[in-house]
Symmetry: C2
Subunit: 222 residues, 2 copies
């Protein structure tokens, strides 16, 4: 199964300022988000599952759950996005149904080596830029650092960029070889979520259109 990862909207309800997460997710989808990732840190799994089920009932784009593979499996989400300190991707794959998508965060060369072995369905490499959404995200890679890490992925595994990406710098991410971008604040902190998603999607699509190779390639012009 090939998932469109051009614009992954990461829904972290804490950035919504009290706005309804399902309405926000629908607005992101209406604006052109191609996938949704639900990210609820330090929240009981049951609460995550409840919101995930509400999202699944009304959303058309694929839903990933951050970290909690048990929630992703139980609610029948498209997949899970794992960090390096989450459950091992390869072990999880062995107990997951066919087609269940596993994404993995990669931020360092040693993590890339682990990712090569565990064969997730996509890599998420970051932080590309400085970000307020993840205080402990570490030193930004920049497009050059991103491209170096992305070059370590097998050619058939799409790589997306994350961390401080907005409509103004998404082009650089795509040109560095990203098949897409994942954003939290650039969409869900915006006053008009749909408009913000539309702006992001336009920037990504334009950058992909300008590239010399099709989406999914990480050999775009540097």
């Amino acid at each position: 199964m090939s998932i469109d990862l051009r614009l992954v909207a990461i829904l972290d309800p804490t950035v919504l300022g009290g706005r309804d997460p399902v309405s926000a997710a629908r607005a992101a989808q209406a604006g052109g988000a191609t996938a949704l990732q639900l990210r609820m840190k330090d929240i009981p799994a049951g609460e995550i599952a409840t919101l995930a089920e509400r999202l699944l009932a009304v959303m058309d784009i694929p839903l990933f759950i951050n970290d909690r593979a048990d929630v992703a499996l139980a609610v029948g989400a498209t997949g899970v996005h794992l960090g390096q300190d989450d459950v091992p991707a390869a072990a999880l794959r062995a107990v997951s149904p066919p087609g269940f998508q596993i994404g993995l965060s990669v931020g360092f060369p040693d993590e890339a080596a682990i990712a090569r072995q565990s064969r997730p369905d996509y890599w998420s490499i970051g932080p590309l830029y400085r970000t307020a959404s993840k205080a402990d995200a570490g030193v930004p890679l920049g497009p050059g650092g991103f491209a170096r890490l992305a070059s370590l992925a097998d050619r058939d595994v799409p790589v997306i960029a994350i961390g401080g990406i907005d409509a103004s710098n998404a082009t650089a991410a795509i040109r560095a070889g990203a098949a897409g971008v994942a954003v939290i604040s650039a969409i869900f902190s915006a006053a008009d979520v749909e408009a913000a998603a539309r702006l992001m999607r336009s920037a990504v699509d334009a950058a992909i259109g300008q590239g010399r190779e099709p989406p999914g390639s990480r050999r775009g012009a540097p």
Copy 2:
């Protein structure tokens, strides 16, 4: 699959005072624990999985993972123990392999109603007594409260007691209808874990022997 739940040793590494959790688990098994539950709150799933795999490599008794069904599934544990705020048991069941055991905590009548619907493999009812291991555990049920909640379970679902149980009061738990007891401190806070487990197991076995019905029944003398 019927699991022997007479003495569930709940391994929470934070109560070990720096002692090796695998050695402690082996000591509990040597003393007569019939099942082990690994409970690591607010710890990354990858770290839980690493310890779970170390335990699976050396232990003979069934291993349950507290809360993290993803870890339990990925490492091939016997099952998971869920709280009421964890992933829904029924939804998890649908994506779990045959024989995967799901235990569920029950502390209130409304939770018993949920448990009846979701059909876990066993109920864990508590807190029976006041406990230091779980500060927010709520008002103790006492044997009478335990028996009332336990009476709400279907007859074929074993019920174990948890919360402040030690060798001195395990008899009351069994007489109130428990098929077994789950303990943290009474085993793993002890200076001699194996001796403490042996004492607990003797108390449980003696109480079961004195009961008028076989283990698994919750119609022991009140």
